[in-house]
């Protein structure tokens, strides 16, 4: 019995973690991220499910997801596809509806968010009974890989400006690697109106406004290896617009 406990240290916990994976053209990344999720959840023993929300990717992501479901089981891998590309914000809303865990983890499926940090998120959450735990590239051992000086400068500059104007009480606002209590996520998602990039920022700013507690875990962010970036060119414009909107409304 004792040895069994050490093998699966957290198996008896009543908590369940639902991981939302929104995908659009992630055929190459999806199997890898799922494999890593299974690996780290297997090692840490927490109860979990992976919910894949594919928006009709033309590259056949859904077929790969179906194969993964066969390999890892229908209780672990849930497919909740939508017919066409409806955006990231609504993909989360769609996913939450089907989540059976009392905690929800949101992450990108492009391998820039590594599942190895999830056990740290969970420990952090338990440590302070936080309402949400956010990964941060800007603190402690956190960082990035594959960014040139220009991108670092824009990122740090934008972050500084946001910190000064909004004082949000969290160091990484645009990151989207986070763990939420399910009911907290539901209430936040309901209130957030922004699209795309700014959505993550609004989520954490509103969280602070509603007096939810926020924990942070440093993460390393490795730029996507496979596939194309979906959020192109006017990222800066939409960031500034979003910042002004949040400045005036929160």
């Amino acid at each position: 019995m004792a040895s069994r406990k050490t093998l699966h240290p957290n198996r008896d916990s009543e908590d369940k973690y639902s991981i939302l994976l929104p995908t659009y053209n992630e055929r190459e990344n999806l199997p890898l991220i799922v494999w890593l999720l299974v690996k780290y959840f297997g090692e840490s023993g927490y109860n979990y499910e992976v919910i894949i929300i594919d928006d009709g990717s033309p590259d056949g992501t859904l077929e790969v997801a179906e194969q993964l479901q066969k390999i890892y089981g229908e209780d672990k891998i849930l497919l909740r596809p939508r017919a066409k590309k409806l955006g990231l914000g609504t993909a989360y809303i769609h996913g939450i509806k089907h989540a059976t865990g009392n905690f929800v983890i949101i992450m990108d499926a492009d391998l820039s968010h590594h599942p190895k940090f999830i056990p740290e998120f969970i420990e952090k959450q338990k440590e302070g009974d936080y309402d949400l735990v956010s990964g941060t590239r800007y603190k402690g051992n956190g960082g990035v890989y594959g960014w040139d000086l220009r991108r670092k400068l824009i990122s740090r500059g934008a972050n500084f400006l946001t910190q000064v104007l909004l004082r949000p009480g969290a160091s990484d606002l645009t990151g989207s690697f986070r763990l939420y209590k399910k009911e907290v996520l539901e209430s936040l998602v309901e209130r957030c109106v922004s699209k795309g990039y700014v959505f993550q920022m609004e989520m954490i700013v509103r969280a602070r406004q509603l007096n939810y507690t926020i924990g942070e875990v440093p993460i390393s962010f490795v730029d996507r290896v496979y596939g194309e970036s979906k959020l192109g060119g006017n990222e800066i414009v939409s960031f500034v617009k979003g910042l002004i909107t949040l400045f005036a409304t929160t």
Partner: protein
């Protein structure tokens, strides 16, 4: 109270205090030196804040961690995952 209102409030307080001293609005007959110090104060504040911002952002860019180890680890795991998934029957 939105952040915008907070900021407007803060700025008004500072501007009011500055105007009070610089133009001696309340006829407190403050010594001339007070007024001379207060008058250019907003400019000094702005310039020092600008310097602080540049220094902070510069320092943070310079010390932004490059996670080479993490990238290497991921590359290794990708290989491992691909092999394992192939064994499990995944057709990519």
């Amino acid at each position: 109270m939105t952040k915008l209102v907070e900021w407007l409030f803060g700025v008004s307080v500072v501007v009011a205090a500055w105007a009070l001293v610089s133009f001696d609005l309340l006829d407190l007959s403050l010594p001339q030196t007070y007024r001379e110090v207060a008058w250019p104060m907003p400019l000094y504040l702005l310039v020092s804040f600008g310097c602080y911002s540049l220094a902070t952002v510069g320092y943070r860019v310079a010390t932004f961690n490059d996670c080479d180890e993490a990238a290497k680890e991921l590359q290794g795991q990708i290989k491992e995952a691909k092999e394992d998934l192939r064994k499990k029957g995944l057709k990519m």
